[in-house]
Subunit: 341 residues, 2 copies
DNA sequence: CTGAAAGCGCTTACAG
DNA sequence: CTGAAAGCGCTTACAG
């Protein structure tokens, strides 16, 4: 009595075969309306629910996707996850979250688990594929989409902004406001996605406007708040007499604002700061942070959409560069006005 | 050749039965060391990985748990999720995230999906159980743990702080700093977990210190930033001449700080503010927010630990009230000093 | 120490 | 329109 009813129990009760119940459950054809009513009634009475595990064993589809993040506890990740989960749910898929913790071993471990659990697809967030991952992915033979990252292998499409261009635009924006002495707070030096291209965009913008780009104008952090404070302090110590800073993440920008305040600098009166990401934090700091907006939620949705497309049609999706834009708030001062006054 | 190898393929290759391969895979006894080597070699050569779906069908255990959140994109949720995921992973469990979106229908929908997918347990975050949920949960017959919420049913243990006491302590802290004209920004009025007890704690602290607790000193928000700004503005409009505010979430506290600044009030010089949660935002706003610390990450871990205990031992875990504490930063001014100067 | 066989709860040709 | 039966990839008594 306390046993969970199976399709057999339903069949017995409705006095039909399990095949018929299965057909009705799956909306296939091949039964009279009378039979259908009888079966539906039995299902209702018994409180029957199909076992998705058993179903998956036949179908070889679990309607579950895996998402790998390097850091779960950042707004960046949760905004993306929100978008992914949203789309997946709409399409009746579930999402398994994996926190790789910026650690290769944990990623490999997760890949093995996800393989065993037969997920229908995988989304990598902010992670660069190593050869080991590639080997494992090839063996898994399921669709993969990268978010805020990219790979040369066409089998692994990505969804991201044009980081180089976005950094170029952020820097140009500062220049447009009359700034010339612009420093940058970059993320981890060796990150080929979120650091190198942004540095290049920053340098290119300076060069295109006749400003020299010097290494000592760049300080390195790790994208998190504390490192932004440290980087800003380092920059200040160098005595560069700067008027503006471009930070490669909003958290680092907030950290920089903190360091500036501690050094007696007012933002934006004494120092202008522009961030990157436009996570909710940006609008919650004071003054609200001018930053490069990345449509994180949409990026998550797009990535999920591509993944499911690949999972259900076996075709490979195309990469997508989503538009970024400068979100003007109150941390950048226009010095042009001052000069012309 | 491109087919994924199964346990049968391994058995054939190692020239043993599938039963033997299964035993070796599961670390059971009953085979010679020579056989073991042979099988392990075959597994290695073929790149075989057991199919967890098939295994689950036998075991009736999926080693997967579900977590339901009302809002994925808040630091509050992601800190909890981080703790849950962390513990689950250590114990070889996977976690399925569900964003219920403050919407009953979506919760019921998720419960059905999680039931079909045969999760081994469920964690509800910040959600009050309705009768409909209870019915479904009873039918699922799997362990459930509540986080930042609670329920009278002893089958559903919880992990949370003592909200009433925490609010009492926050308010008392303000009083200890010489404040008497203390307003409160509460969360959604009808929330029996995160609103009622905190309001009671606030009022009790006032009363215990001989200060009248009046309804007009309370403004209501929804825990998010924007509502904090609005609530603060409403409070200011009432002309209460207040010196301090207790906000029931850090986001609302940050919003209140914003409104205060816009009204020309300096924090903490003109207005003291204390928040609730101690999410990372609290240390990133300026000045850093004094707040009630909830050990979110640990709460997530504890909840997961209780859930797995229940899932694996069939005993029911006990509820846990975790310790909160006042995290002193820079948004509360001590007026005692001033008065005595 | 080892294997044949039943079974987990479904789906899906196949036959009627 | 309907059912018997094989099969999905494992595990687990049971027998030897």
């Amino acid at each position: 009595m306390s046993d969970i009813p199976t399709i057999r129990d339903v069949a017995r009760r409705a006095d039909v075969s399990v095949a018929t119940v299965s057909r009705i459950l799956n909306g296939l054809s091949g039964y009279s309306d009378k039979t259908k009513q009888k079966v539906l009634a039995a299902i209702e009475e018994m409180g029957y629910r199909p076992n998705a595990i058993a179903r998956s064993l036949n179908n070889r589809r679990t309607h579950t996707i895996g998402v790998l993040f390097p850091a779960l506890n950042s707004e960046f990740s949760s905004a993306l996850l929100h978008g992914i989960e949203d789309y997946a749910h709409r399409r009746q898929y579930s999402v398994l979250v994996c926190n790789t913790d910026v650690d290769g071993r944990r990623t490999m471990n997760y890949l093995k688990v996800l393989r065993e659990k037969q997920v229908d697809g995988l989304i990598f967030v902010s992670e660069v594929l190593t050869d080991a991952y590639r080997t494992e992915l090839a063996a898994m033979n399921i669709p993969v989409v990268l978010v805020a990252s990219s790979d040369d292998d066409p089998r692994y499409p990505h969804v991201k902004v044009d980081d180089r261009q976005a950094a170029y635009d952020a820097t140009s924006y500062l220049i447009g406001k009359g700034h010339r002495r612009i420093a940058m707070i970059s993320g981890t030096a060796d990150d080929p996605i979120a650091s190198r291209p942004r540095i290049e965009g920053y340098e290119q913008a300076l060069l295109d406007h006749g400003v020299a780009a010097l290494p000592e104008w760049i300080a390195y952090g790790d994208f998190f708040y504390e490192s932004g404070t440290l980087a800003m302090e380092a920059l200040l110590k160098r005595g560069l007499d700067l008027t503006a800073v471009f930070a490669a993440s909003d958290e680092m920008a907030a950290g920089a604002m903190h360091a500036a305040a501690r050094a007696g600098l007012r933002v934006p009166e004494d120092l202008s700061i522009i961030g990157y990401d436009d996570i909710r934090l940006a609008m919650m700091v004071h003054p609200p942070l001018t930053t490069v907006h990345q449509p994180l939620r949409e990026m998550g949705q797009e990535a999920a959409a591509k993944l499911l497309l690949m999972a259900e049609s076996a075709q490979t999706a195309r990469s997508l560069i989503v538009p970024h834009r400068i979100m003007e708030r109150q941390t950048v001062r226009d010095i042009n006005e001052i000069n012309s006054t």
